[in-house]
Symmetry: C2
Subunit: 425 residues, 2 copies
């Protein structure tokens, strides 16, 4: 009986697994050196937990299931609610600031499309307990630290940054009532995903006058903070953006970032700096996004503690790296360190060599069927062995082994003990 | 709003995450050096896929869900069906033998109990395409290779081995009809989980005569292969066990294994050597189990290709290692390599040091609030920093930095350039 995989999921054969491991290992390495500690939560949580942050709309994007008591559960579409739950559970005993990262496997019941699957991995970094913009700067630095580590330059990607404080000040200056802000954010966030006409229509539907809609649209076209000030004046709420620029310039991130009022992040829960990283000139979705969310822990029943973070999926990143030719050269190729061949039956001598090599950390295989030497060398070659060890009668008699370099084809007859002492050196 | 985690799941705070990573990294390391390649599949598959191998009983142990088209899916309770599907999909292009490992996250909708959770990790190794018992021996070797790597000795654990070929021969010699074997295996597998009376009753219910039941019970009490031969004669079907003993003895596994006819593995799908690893003298469930399953790929719509493998969950293993005191000393403790303190505001000088240390791979933090030096040293201490870098006015003037060893408390004033050249050395 042949059954296919579920659409929107991936099979990771060894070659695809090598790419996945290389991406995730890079995320982990960069997180650790930037002082973040790893955590994880369960794959499923109570369904209602995901509604707190993202409202009821999230429910139709969820894979939902039930426990044996009939309680509604859901596969996690993001890890931030779990993070909030876990931090709140131990809020008094955890030393602050909390700098945590995670690489959760996440699930969305959407129609699969380019860069968007039903099952994916996401790198998350969060700093909790620091209201200083320095923490936002460090989140952006860590994000860029990873992206440039894998070879992406300011010619490939750009960090687009805005400020929710600035945005709400400007919108109120334009005349948008405070209570309309949250729904307006969701509209503004769609600017780069809709045609100009569709966006204008949505904006006009949302706002009381077309004059107001025009002003909002003009703001959204501004290209730097100077233009914003020229048009709307200099407000105290702009300071967090100035501070951020200072920090990022000091951190060497200057060439990677720009101001972009079109970066809004749809969710109501952001409260300060927001950012997204985009590929330059491509048609891909954002590579990652994040920002400050100072009210979330309180919304999950905890104290009011500020927080800022970032999430990066594996799929868009992988497509971009592939397009830029950055995967092939960096992902480790399948290689076996040693293949041990042997004339005659499987013997204690063969096994002693296999086991000794393995115990020294070398990946080592041998042939299960002791066929002729040429058959075994073919096996070694199929398994991409770097070196082959050949033990025939001659070698056994002389207490030697033949070591064959599979790339060059060169063979060397080496004294048994010398072989091991060379390896140890 | 405070919402608890779902029962039977685990939150991995950094301390628990360190244990999980240490266990999984060990599994991966041992797999790779033994010549296995990593793969993985999706977290969910079509529900019916899990019924092929394990029948309808499995359904009530599954977390089931639906895709948007209303098709029945389930969270994977094991990865072997996915392995069979993936191998069959590429059966012609994959070089044989296939030596693959995986560390899937698995799910069972059971009542949580000691060593048994609803969500867990499982190490799986499989060799596909080798009918030689040498492959079974290598699976057992690799299992033991890991267990002794983490410090478990023959005083702690025992590999209990039996042979399905031997078992079916003996049962037929006793008079059990061939068609009753599969259901009888499930009963025999319960021997060590039931009271003597309950087991006897089940056996009597299952078999046509109490004489037959007595003979089966007697067989199940035998302690070595010699006793089996004395009682039932020497059959060709016993050969695979003799061969296995030879291989295991050659591989140095001798002190770890014994024959145990009580090891049956309930599932009908095993066809040859079967084994389980148990803690000696404990009340824990088996640490792991495995064996040969030569018909599975065919049952999943592929060609008849032989296979043998092993699965080890993380939870029972972790409890055992904890009981034996083997976790504390081996799991890496939280440690930060450097904490950079600074007098005055966050400065370019501080950041340059932070970034340089990070780029060299050292995990490095700094204080977000530039409080007094004692406050910052307290932060460094809370973050378990090994070393602290102190830059005050004096240091800046002299182009030096103070390096404080947090364990010994010793401080040293070092020339700035010398500090970096020392680190590089």
């Amino acid at each position: 009986m042949k059954i296919p995989p579920v659409k929107g999921t991936r099979d990771f054969y060894p070659a695809e697994m090598a790419v996945r491991n290389w991406i995730i290992d890079g995320w982990k390495k960069v997180s650790v050196r930037n002082g973040f500690e790893e955590y994880d939560g369960p794959i499923f949580e109570y369904l209602k937990m995901f509604q707190i942050k993202s409202g009821d709309e999230i429910v139709e994007q969820l894979f939902s299931l039930q426990d044996r008591g009939g309680r509604d559960l859901a596969l996690r579409p993001e890890i931030t609610p779990t993070l909030a739950r876990m931090v709140n559970q131990r809020i008094n005993s955890l030393p602050k600031p909390i700098k945590w990262f995670s690489v959760p496997r996440l699930f969305r019941a959407e129609r699969p499309q380019k860069g968007r699957l039903r099952e994916f991995f996401q790198w998350n970094i969060d700093i909790i307990g620091v209201d200083n913009v320095l923490a936002d700067a460090e989140v952006i630095f860590t994000t860029v630290d990873y992206l440039r580590e894998v070879g992406l330059t300011p010619n490939d990607i750009v960090v687009k940054i805005s400020s929710r404080k600035m945005l709400s000040t400007v919108l109120q200056e334009i005349g948008v009532p405070q209570e309309s802000l949250d729904t307006l954010y969701a509209v503004l966030d769609k600017k780069n995903k809709l045609s100009t006409e569709a966006f204008e229509k949505m904006l006009n539907d949302q706002l009381p006058s077309s004059d107001m809609a025009n002003k909002v649209r003009e703001f959204m076209e501004l290209e730097n903070i100077q233009q914003v000030m020229n048009k709307f004046g200099h407000w105290e709420a702009f300071d967090e953006y100035f501070e951020l620029m200072d920090y990022l310039d000091n951190m060497g991130v200057g060439p990677y970032y720009m101001f972009d009022p079109g970066v809004v992040r749809g969710l109501a829960y952001y409260t300060g700096i927001v950012f997204e990283v985009h590929a330059i000139g491509g048609e891909l979705r954002a590579i990652c996004g994040g920002g400050r969310y100072d009210n979330l822990l309180r919304d999950f029943g905890g104290p009011p503690i500020s927080a800022t973070g970032m999430g990066m999926g594996d799929r868009v990143l992988e497509i971009l790296l592939e397009e830029k030719g950055l995967l092939g050269e960096q992902v480790p190729k399948k290689q076996l360190d040693y293949f041990v061949t042997c004339i005659g039956d499987f013997s204690k001598e063969v096994w002693q060599i296999v086991e000794k090599l393995r115990s020294m950390g070398y990946s080592t295989n041998f042939s299960y069927k002791m066929g002729g030497p040429s058959k075994q060398l073919k096996d070694a070659s199929a398994q991409k062995a770097k070196k082959c060890i050949i033990i025939g009668d001659e070698e056994l008699e002389q207490n030697k082994i033949t070591v064959k370099d599979m790339a060059s084809g060169e063979q060397e007859l080496v004294d048994y003990d010398e072989f091991w002492s060379r390896l140890k050196a």
